[in-house]
Structure formats: structure tokens, C-alpha cells
Amino acid sequence: MESFFSRYRNALVLIAVLLAQVIGLAVQVRAPGSGTGDKGGVRLIRAWVVGMVSPPERLLHAMGRGVRGTWSNYFDLIHVRQQNQSLQAQIDALRLEEASLAEDARQGERLQALLGFQEKYVYKTVAAQVIGTAGTEQSHVLFIDKGSADGIASDMPVITPDGIVGKTRDVFDHTSQVLEISDATSGAGVILQQTRIQGVLRGNSWGQPQIVNVSPDERIKAGEPVVTSGGDSIYPRGLAVGTVDRVVPDPEGTLVSVLVKPSANLEKLEEVLVITNTGSAMPSEMQDDLSEAQQRASDILAERLPSRADPNAPPTSAAQNGTPQTAPPPANALPTPPPKPPPPLHADHFSPTSMVPAEDLVPGQRMANSTTPPAQPPAGNSGSGEPPHRTGNTAGNPASGVSPAKKTEPTAGGPASPNQAAPALSHEPAARSKAAPNTGTPQNGQKPAAKASQPDNGQKPAPAGSPPASSTPAPQPTSPQERN
């Protein structure tokens, strides 16, 4: 017996080691804890190894950042001024866009409250540096330099400004393990943004995220955005995930898998955000941002619109025709109300006094034939080059001096219907653009500015090369709804 052990000692040791590890594997797979993370001795071993490996990684990473920071902060500052200007223009554009979405966001929030739908808003995030990976092809795992001491727990979403990265798995004191969405064992509820097809996102064997078990649908095209659906109770709804790369058939059935190109560059991650707190109510900071965005957007539009009163500009053609001009107010003058629009130069279809009663209308007859023929614009007012029916709309309602927008402005108590809100959108920028240079104070509660930047029924002056007014006006819509 003794000779047997001495003779096969090496093989017996190997068998014992393998047997111990197989038993350990079976125990871990059978009782994986609460779904993610480990407990007991396994967690202790992981903590030891991470504790030994991560400090040098953190040190090397800090040294690398120092070198890169020295270069980027002192030597690589060429063209910064031009970049700053282009970024400022981009900020202006984004503010306009944000303002256009603000009302939609508020309306969505109200509707969600009515439906009892629980939306998740991001309240707090923790920025973290990526300091390492698992180092193998089979495990798509990152290590970040923030842990439980920084308020991070398991199953917290990890994102970048471009899109989601994954979720935290094992969390240690000052280090956390992040399971990427490209791993085969990950899972995230996603939805295709246009076709509204929902599914579960997980990585395939090659590390590319894919939506599995999707019914074949011809509407799914490459390039369609994919966002989180919020159905997994981990990722908040609406975060960018990526775009559809291609659709591949599932070899085991009739379903297909949708390969997704992730928005976040998972191969080159340096900084990530861990969402540590979410809630069902829109945070006050976001509400303030929306209000501020609307105010700033109105200022930006007021500066950009050509109807802004420029005190240094030469006299306009309207002044040459005798139209009264308002002198620029002194710098210390009190804010004045916006000036009333000038009366129309000719009769049009939209002035209440010139509107043909409904009983006098003949089916099939053109409106222009039943009303006063449009007058030719005077020679001195040809600067705009607009057709008569368009210039007439600029005046709004000269009789009352109140633009149609004021009549259809939704009340603060509840949302207005889109048909009611549409005329207000098209008429407000002109009022703002005239009021802003004098007052300098934005008007709260006004409608989104970007929507108002669309062609707004004649308020926008025609370009210099536009064709002259036609003698036969085109058929005109008879209501504000049709015009919009």
C-alpha cells in the first residue's frame, strides 16, 4: 500500500487537486448566492486577489493619467479657442433642442403620473476610473476604483455619456467589479426605439451584445437605436445602448438574434459613471434645467432672429413708407411691452374683418376669387419679396392688437391639445424677438423655441432671391390648424 502511494504520488496529488476544485465548482454553481456576487470563502479569495492586484494597477493608472494630463494640459492646447467657439455654438443648439423637448418631458411626466407608470430618474452618480480587466477573453469584466466606501453596491448600473456599460457585481471596499453588457452571462432589458420591439440583451461568445430570442420582423433595420426598457429593474428606462448591427437567425429555432453595436466604446473605457440612486419623481435639478433651457433658448432665438430691433441699423423700407418707428430706448429705461404689430398693408384671408362668412362660400371656388384681390405691395416694401398672402399674416389681428397665439395659449392647469398649441408655437417667437432686446428678460412659460424656429406662416422673411409675388395666389388654408 505504501508503495502504491509513493509510486503514484504525483498523479494522486493531481487527482486530489482536481477533485477539490470540481467540488468547489459544483458548490458555487449550485448556490450562487443572491444571483450575483459571492459569499463566504469565495468572496474572501476574490477580495484577497483583488486587494493584491488592484493597488499596483491603481498606482500605474494614476501615473499614466499624470503623464497624459501633463501633455494635454500644457502642450496639446492648440486650436482650443476655435474648439471653444464651436462648442459654444453647439451648446446653443442643444439648448434650443432641450427647450423643445422640455414641454414633451413635462407632458410625459404628467401622463405617466396619470397612468401610474413608475419612471426612474437618475438622482446621483459616482464617477469612477477603470483600472483593470479580468484579462481573459471569456470574461468581460472591468475593475473600477470605487467601492462600497463610496456608496456603491451590487447591481448598480454603470454608464458612460455614450451609453450603458454594465452593472456592478462584486463590490469591495475600494474596488468594484463591473460585468459588461458584452458578457454572455449579463442581461439587460432593451427596446428598439423605432419598432418598439423589446428583448433581453446579452453578449454572445465573441463578446458582442445581442438581443436574443426575437421574433423575425422585417422592420428591424441596421442602424436603429436601441435603448434600455427599464424592465429589468436595474437600468433606468431610455438609456442609450447602441444601434442595430445586423440580424442573424437563431440556429436552434425560428427566432432571430439582433446583434447590437454598443454606443459606449467597451474596448477603451477610462471613466464611467455608477448610478447610485434613482427615483420616480423628476429631480428638482432637472426641472430647473428645463426651465432655464427654455429661458435661454428664448434669448438665443431673440438674438438670432433678424426681426430684432437694431438701434444701429439703417432705416428700413417701412420707415421710408412712413410707418412709425419706435426709437431705441435708453439704457436705463424700464422694460416696455412689446410693440404692436403694424397694420396689414392689404386685406387678407386671415383678418376677421375680411373673412367671408361661411354661408357665402361656394364649394370648389377659390378663396381668392371670393374676396378682394390681393393688392400689389408698394415699391418701397418689396424688400421682403413675400407673396401678399404671407405678408398679411404677419400682422396677426390688427383690430385687437392681440396675436392669435395669446388666445390659444394653454392654461397652467393642464395640457392643451396639440391643435390648440400649434398656433401659439408659430406666433410666439416674433413677440419674443421684439420684446427681448428691450427688456432683456426672458418670458417664462413660453412654448418651445425650436419648434417655433420652423417656418411660421410668414413671419420669417424671405431670402433676397425669392420670387416676386404671384398674381394668382395659391389656395390658402382657412384655419390655423390647417396652416400648421
Binding site: 504525483n10 483593470g132 484579462g135
Partner: protein
């Protein structure tokens, strides 16, 4: 004819400072984790495997090589999200086989090292595939060309790394 097992072990067993035994695997794990973050190409290289093979064929003691491979593999498992033991099993087998081979053949030659590393990289991949697919039920992509390229790269890196590690050998 290569030397027999017992005679080669008695003749050519090497020794290293104890600090080298401890620091080299840790350095391999740390570099593997750090460099894979910045260079995606580094995911093909398995530095802990190369360290395991080197000490196995240098010490020529199957028991210590088996235990060293198991410890290094479990440490590598600890950095992944897989259960502990996947790399532990594969590296324990590779350590045992490498030490057994080192007892029987001359592993001082660079060509031999190249072939040994190439072969044992494939062995580890086969064991990993078997454990992942058949014991854990996890997907594992297997393409022969990819695995052969991976083994070839590890063999080339291994020859360079082994030459560097030879410098840490204790002079007798």
C-alpha cells in the same frame, strides 16, 4: 535520447529566490489585467499560463507544479466573474504535464520551449472548453484558427519571457 526522469530531475533542477516565486505570478496577473484594458490584443496572451509553464519545466517537480498551477489559476479566476476553479483546473493540469515533460526532455532549448508552450496553450484551451461547456453549461466560442493563432502568439511571447526569467535564476 533524452535523459530519464529521475536523472534529469537530479541533474538540472533549478532554484529561485522565494520572492521571485511570489512576485512573478502576481506581476503576471496584474500586467494581464492592466494591459488588457489598454491593448485589446493582449487578451490573446495568457501571462499566468506562461509563468506556470516556466516554473513547471524549470523545477521539474509535478506536485509543486500542480499546486502552483492551481493557485495561480484560482487567483486568475478571482479576477473574473466565473466560479473559482475554471482556470484552476486547467492550470493544475498544465502544470502537472509541463513538469512531467520537463523531467523527461531538455527544456533549455528555445525551440523546445516554443513547442512546449504552443502545445500546452492548446491543452489549456481544450480543458477550458470542456469545463465551460460541459461542466458549467456556458457558451464558449471555438474556432481552430483563432486558437492556433493564440497558441502561436503565446509561444513566441513565452520564449522571450522565459529568457528574461532565466536571469532571475539563483547562481550555484
Amino acid at each position: 535520447m533524452a535523459l530519464m526522469a529521475s536523472s534529469r530531475h537530479e541533474v538540472g533542477s533549478r532554484s529561485y529566490p522565494i520572492l521571485v516565486y511570489v512576485l512573478t505570478p502576481l506581476l503576471a496577473l496584474g500586467l494581464q489585467s492592466l494591459l488588457s484594458l489598454h491593448f485589446a490584443f493582449f487578451g490573446l496572451i495568457d501571462l499566468p499560463l506562461l509563468v506556470t509553464i516556466y516554473y513547471a519545466i524549470s523545477k521539474r517537480e509535478p506536485i509543486s507544479a500542480t499546486l502552483a498551477g492551481a493557485v495561480i489559476g484560482v487567483a486568475q479566476d478571482a479576477l473574473t466573474h466565473h466560479p473559482l476553479g475554471v482556470f484552476g483546473i486547467s492550470k493544475a493540469i498544465v502544470g502537472y504535464l509541463s513538469a512531467s515533460l520537463g523531467v523527461r526532455v531538455d527544456t533549455e532549448n528555445h525551440g523546445t520551449r516554443l513547442l512546449v508552450t504552443f502545445g500546452f496553450t492548446l491543452v489549456q484551451t481544450i480543458v477550458l472548453y470542456w469545463v465551460e461547456r460541459h461542466m458549467l453549461g456556458q457558451p464558449y466560442a471555438w474556432i481552430w484558427v483563432h486558437e492556433l493563432i493564440k497558441a502561436g502568439i503565446n509561444a513566441l511571447i513565452g520564449v522571450i519571457l522565459f529568457a528574461l526569467l532565466d536571469l532571475s535564476r539563483r547562481r550555484e
